[in-house]
């Protein structure tokens, strides 16, 4: 059940109506949320519900046991057990085939041959998201940052809360879990803001992402047939596709949660206006980057280690692991590694650029934003490519003389006459709000305008949603596969 489907509209209307009617009873509210979350998830494949239930119950029990236990060694053992269960499920479903294949390739270098058995299994939707969310719970209890929750219903609702279950934001237990312990009341302001944010997310998904996907998918799938100039268009469109797709999902998730009185953390903050790679990761998939900061980078020593080599290594490890989180493919690992490389390069030249002071600050800012966008977009090639070879071939073609070929006729041959105009209008509309609300919780902020202007803006958004949405079939959210 996709957020941008009629099934979801009906599902959410029913859930919201029943939920709204139960505002006086906390237990009913949580039961409704839990049941609806399981229905929502089971819509894809009900069999995988068992994984969520196993993960929920084991972490509930382990969390409770850690909290009650004062023995340091036993607490550590319990934490390891929790990590083993969570990462075991994740590793089995997501990484088994990758590790088996990589191992076989590795031993073949030394002349050994093996016939490994690969698993023909489907990756459960959103497994990386809820696994990381529950892991943060037991880790935080172990670190004495929070106490275990004694209410199983509340805990299971926290793990499976449907708006953010399959693609985040990856919530921290300390922020989300206590909200299921308090009665939620209908707040007209939050309700209206929630609707606005959801519609903004929907715009990013069905107008920006899905229209860009029309070209980006064709270009990446047939990249051998196109000149470098078309491949550049392809990767730029992919950059906006993935942003519209993922941040759109997050906005819808946050919006519908607000309508139900639940506050989720901000996940995006105009990332393509970042001034360097570090800034980009403060603005892109914030819930994941802060997760890796808190549970990988800082435990490794972070920036507080003495040796600069160790500090650099910590950064590389964090980026690479973050890439690997996305998928069991070398392309994701390289994508992560590239970000660390760009981080070091940009840190070095930014210092020099600032020291020289040859350019006015505003120009330096524009220059930095442009360079960061180019770097991030370049790295997307690895993220989107099917394999390492595919990515290298893609880049080689961009580096060839075919970069000078006029791409228009190729794009025209892909069909859809009016689509380029729609994409351009959509991107201009997006850019206006992103630039003017660069640091807002979400960029569609119109509260400060007078009523007629506000009405005009709302109508324009509705117009774009109805008339400029993609019409080439619904495209799944990219991050569902992670």
């Amino acid at each position: 059940m996709l957020f941008n489907s009629f099934e979801f509209v009906i599902f959410f209307s029913i859930v919201f109506f029943v939920y709204y009617k139960s505002y006086n009873n906390l237990k009913y509210q949580n039961v409704i949320l839990l049941v609806s979350s399981y229905v929502f998830y089971g819509w894809w494949d009900w069999r995988f519900l068992s994984l969520i239930i196993i993960s929920s119950i084991s972490d509930y029990l382990i969390g409770y046991a850690i909290d009650k236990n004062n023995n340091k060694k036993q607490r550590k053992q319990l934490l390891i057990l929790s990590l083993f269960v969570n990462l075991g499920i994740l590793g089995f479903f997501k990484y088994y085939n990758f590790f088996t294949e990589s191992f076989t390739d590795f031993i073949s270098i030394f002349g050994f041959e093996s016939n490994p058995s690969f698993l023909n299994i489907v990756l459960p939707v959103g497994i990386s998201f809820y696994t990381f969310q529950t892991m943060s719970y037991t880790i935080d209890i172990y670190r004495n940052k929070m106490s275990a929750n004694k209410n199983l219903l509340e805990f299971m609702t926290f793990v499976s809360f449907f708006p953010q279950l399959v693609a985040g934001p990856i919530e921290r237990a300390s922020h989300l879990l206590p909200q299921f312990g308090k009665k939620r009341k209908f707040d007209p302001y939050e309700f209206k803001e929630g609707i606005k944010q959801s519609f903004w997310g929907l715009f990013k998904k069905i107008v920006i992402a899905d229209n860009c996907a029309f070209y980006a998918n064709q270009i990446f799938e047939n990249s051998d047939s196109y000149p470098g100039s078309v491949l550049v268009v392809g990767v730029v469109l992919f950059a906006f596709q993935i942003y519209g797709d993922f941040s759109g999902y997050s906005d819808i998730a946050i919006g519908i949660s607000r309508m139900m009185g639940i506050d989720l953390m901000q996940n995006f903050k105009s990332p393509y206006l970042a001034e360097n790679i570090q800034d980009f990761w403060r603005r892109w998939h914030i819930s994941l980057s802060t997760w890796f900061r808190d549970y990988v980078y800082i435990p490794l020593g972070g920036s507080k280690v003495n040796s600069s080599f160790r500090r650099s290594l910590n950064i590389i490890i964090t980026f690479v692991v973050s890439g690997f989180w996305h998928g069991a493919n070398w392309t994701f690992i390289i994508w992560g590694a590239l970000h660390s490389l760009f981080y070091f390069i940009q840190t070095a030249y930014s210092k020099n650029l600032n020291t020289l002071k040859i350019l006015p600050a505003s120009l330096v800012k524009v220059f930095n934003i442009t360079v960061t966008f180019i770097a991030v977009t370049f790295a997307w090639i690895f993220f989107r490519a099917e394999s390492f070879t595919h990515a290298i071939n893609y880049i080689s073609e961009i580096g060839s003389s075919t970069i000078l070929v006029n791409p228009i006729s190729y794009l025209r041959d892909m069909g859809a006459s009016i689509q380029p105009i729609i994409i351009i209008i959509g991107l201009i509309y997006l850019s206006v709000f992103e630039i003017s609300n660069r640091n807002a919780s979400y960029s569609f902020q119109v509260g400060h305008y007078k009523t007629p202007v506000k009405t005009l803006i709302y109508c324009s958004l509705l117009f774009l949603l109805i008339f400029f949405r993609a019409t080439n079939g619904s495209v799944d959210f990219i991050y569902f596969q992670f």
């Binding site: 209908f186 047939n222 069909g415 019409t471 080439n472």
Partner: protein, 303 residues
Amino acid sequence: MKSILIKAIPFLIVFFAINFIVYKTSPFYKQESKYSNRIDSIISSKPKVVFLGDSHSESIKHLNLSENVGNLAFGADGIKEMYIKTLIMDKYNPELEYVFISTEPQMFNNSISSNSTFLNKYLLKIKDPKNIYNKSNLNLITENIPYLNDNYLRYFLNNVYAYLRNINKSDTNGNTPINWSEVSNSEKIKIASNAGIADHNGIMTNDEDLEIYKAIVNKLKLKNVKVIGIRFPVNEHYLNQCNKEDFDRVNHFINNLNLDYNLDYSLKLKNALYFENEDHLNKIGMQKLSKLIYRDTGIKLSK
């Protein structure tokens, strides 16, 4: 909560009023009644012979068709639409003995047909095990609202685009509003080539379509229905726009299907007097072709 809902009501009323007007007046939805009338008449008449395909096959409408022959072909139909019509015949026409199925290269291009919308009401009645359109029952119902229907919206936007670019409407439909036999040779080549380029774009790139095509043939064979592949006559410059490699792949695919007959009349009729335009026969041409079909299969199409 109530005040928010009350504020939304005027927008909803306006939205549904506009949709109602569009549904009642748009040529897109007028085409729907024509489309479903043709299917309904075949369901009730239960002919032994049925034609499936796009506007090329639809040209048999020029004939005074025998009661045993039904025309299920429709302009802009693709492989998916042929498949759904096969399912409809499977359910409603036990008398079926022969199916003429288009094997022309343009059937294997990568275009999306908006005709799928017109099949929605049948999809609610028959079971499509493949769910080829990836539509739930809810989608089938909501597509009756024009601005919630992707096919209508695409049609609408393309018309707006054509209007903005000042393109003659008939050009966008692929029909040439001129007497073909009176067109100069150079003009014929130009028109036929342009249409050929547009129609043969991205041939054999959609594996899913090929699987569906196989499924049509298998389904019919399972019911002991004879499957006759057919290519209608077209202008050679139209056909030449399909590159040789793609053309060979189409032929290879068709040959592997073991059709009961594989009739190729693509370049059998060359006289411009037989043609309505670069890729459609007129009445005289169709009468000529029906004789060839009778000679090759023994099936009489006209009364």
